[in-house]
């Protein structure tokens, strides 16, 4: 199948690959997907508690090229945004930017979920929203 130039670019030069310290109170971690489904995304953000600006974002993804590109793009987009602005990012924005075909839409959905999961985790740590404690996959 043919990939768009932007997907290929993100695949070849992924932005912001890596990990942040998940124990840091200012770091929110989102881990979504499952190995059995062929996609797992880990998205982490370091958020300034006073300005609520996402100062740093890192990702690691197990998945196809479109999944890697979606999460790479997500890290680029959330950096410098406030938590509220980042929550407004929709999967359809990612689909449009990367020209994803219909069979790859789930990759963009996963990226949106990862953003939301990372922010929930940060909010939970900050005591803002206790009921989202399970938004991240937990080691049981």
């Amino acid at each position: 199948m043919a990939y768009s130039d932007k997907v290929i670019d993100h695949y070849n030069n992924p932005r912001n690959v890596g990990s942040l310290d998940k124990k840091d109170a200012n770091v929110g971690t989102g881990l979504v997907g499952a190995p059995e489904c062929g996609d797992v995304m880990k998205l982490q953000m370091k958020i300034n508690p006073s300005t609520r600006v996402i100062e740093e974002a890192k990702f690691k993804t197990f998945g196809c090229g479109s999944a890697i590109a979606s999460s790479s793009l997500a890290t680029e987009w959330v950096r410098g945004k406030t938590v509220e602005e980042a929550l407004a990012i929709k999967n359809t924005d990612i689909v449009r930017e990367l020209s994803l075909p219909p069979v790859k839409i789930h990759c963009s959905v996963l990226a949106e979920d990862a953003i939301k999961a990372a922010i929930s985790d940060w909010k939970h740590k900050a005591g803002e929203d206790a009921k989202t404690a399970d938004a991240t996959a937990s080691h049981s």
């Binding site: 990990s19 190995p35 059995e36 690691k60 993804t61 197990f62 890697i68 979920d113 399970d134 996959a137």
Partner: protein, 406 residues
């Protein structure tokens, strides 16, 4: 020698046509264009002679007699003709068919259709190594069983079934034995007498011949197999397969079979050495790689490896100047990972990470080295990108994670 890109390592999907095969075919596109069924002029006679010569070449490759070869459009048609043809012809005798779960869809879907028409089908499981258990087979046979259809070698994992033993059991029980021989014929010795095969499907384009032509071997004695035709018409191929013969394709098919027969010993040794070189170069440099299916009972030119923590399609994207296939759901039309790997008990997580390498006649050691280095480099890079690899390295048990799916 400089390597020409892209490199073709997908010889289970199809093989390039050998130039000697093309040469043999060309006259039959030009001066010798006759219809093999034209009995009253030289054009027809030349075509008929060419077809009969090819029939003998195909027969010789598998230890059959020429009259037992029925030309078809390919192995899918051969599988359909064998299974539906026996089912319909022997319906009075019984309605039970035995097959197994890693068959090609041409067999599985044909069996499924027959189930809708009142037949009963047993799908034998396979062991971890990809082979059926012969005791399972014995137990599955009933007085109603008319056909066992088990492939010679699998198209994804190259695992060779215990065909001669199956042939023996079938004969003992008086049940016909059909085998889809597409991946094996021309690659390893296949002998319908020694293997006790009553019906054998063959495809030309998997053995360096042209696409659009194949054959079904139909045993004529001990026992004689009769078939109900599925294509009616002019009564070609002794009534078993009507339709004007694809003379050009058949000539190429025959030549391809002859080349395979003459060169098999040498070619098998060469391909096994290349395959082992590929396997060693990759697996000695990467941890957590797993071979799918038996190494002992395997086609010499196949290897199927799972690269844990690296999704197959993203690996293919990274080695885009190499043609291989993946068991990843992302590369299939169904969005399900390989049913063959699942049948072996390979977890879905590992099924997504599998790559099939199929070597062929025209591959070289330089190509093997290039592919191995590209695979190692890409897997290493993608593992740096993989949260699963990181978690596994931290000592987490990924199978015990409570994954949240989207």
């Amino acid at each position: 020698m400089a390597i020409k890109l892209p490199i073709y390592f997908d010889n289970h999907a199809t093989t390039p046509v050998d130039p000697r095969v093309v040469d043999a075919m060309l006259p039959y596109f030009n001066d010798k264009f006759g219809n093999a069924a034209s009995r009253n002029h030289a054009f027809g006679w030349a075509a008929e002679e060419a077809v009969e010569n090819a029939r003998a070449q195909v027969a010789q490759l598998i230890g059959a007699t020429p009259k037992e070869i029925v030309f078809t459009s390919g192995a899918t048609e051969s599988d359909n003709l064998a299974i539906k043809g026996v089912a319909e012809m022997y319906r009075e005798k019984g309605n039970h068919i035995i097959t197994q779960v890693t068959e090609h869809k041409a067999v599985l879907d044909t069996c499924k259709r027959l189930e809708k028409e009142g037949f009963e089908v047993t799908y034998l499981p396979v062991e971890k190594d990809g082979r059926i258990n012969l005791d399972d087979l014995r137990r599955a046979i009933t007085p109603k069983t008319i056909l066992i259809t088990i492939m010679y070698a699998n198209n994804e994992i190259g695992v060779v079934q215990p065909v001669a033993e199956i042939g023996k059991i079938a004969k003992e029980k008086g049940v016909f034995f059909h085998s889809d021989g597409v991946q094996a014929v021309g690659k390893i010795p296949v002998d319908v007498q020694k293997d006790g095969i009553d019906l054998l499907s063959i495809s030309a384009h998997k053995l360096y011949g042209p696409k659009g032509v194949g054959a079904l071997y139909v045993r004529r004695k001990n026992p004689r197999v009769q078939l109900t035709a599925i294509i009616d018409g002019g009564g070609h191929e002794r009534g078993m397969r009507s339709g004007t013969l694809n003379v050009t394709g058949i000539v190429g098919f025959g030549k391809a079979c002859e080349l395979c027969r003459v060169e098999m010993t040498e070619e098998t040794a060469k391909l096994r050495a290349l395959r082992d070189r590929l396997k060693e170069s990759i697996m000695s440099k990467l941890d957590e790689t797993f071979i799918n299916g038996s190494m002992e009972h395997r086609l010499p030119h196949n290897i199927n490896i799972s690269f844990a923590y690296v999704e197959g399609e993203s690996l293919l994207m990274g080695i885009n100047d190499v043609a291989v296939s993946s068991g990843s759901a992302c590369t299939s039309a169904t969005l399900e990972p390989s049913y063959v790997l699942k049948a072996l008990g390979v977890g879905e997580d590992l099924a997504h990470t599998s790559i099939r390498f199929g070597l062929g006649r025209f591959n070289t050691a330089e190509e093997v080295d290039y592919v191995a280095s590209r695979v190692v480099e890409t897997v290493s890079r993608l593992r740096e990108l993989s949260p699963l690899y990181e978690m596994a390295k931290e000592g987490m048990d990924l199978s015990k994670m409570n994954w949240k799916t989207a």
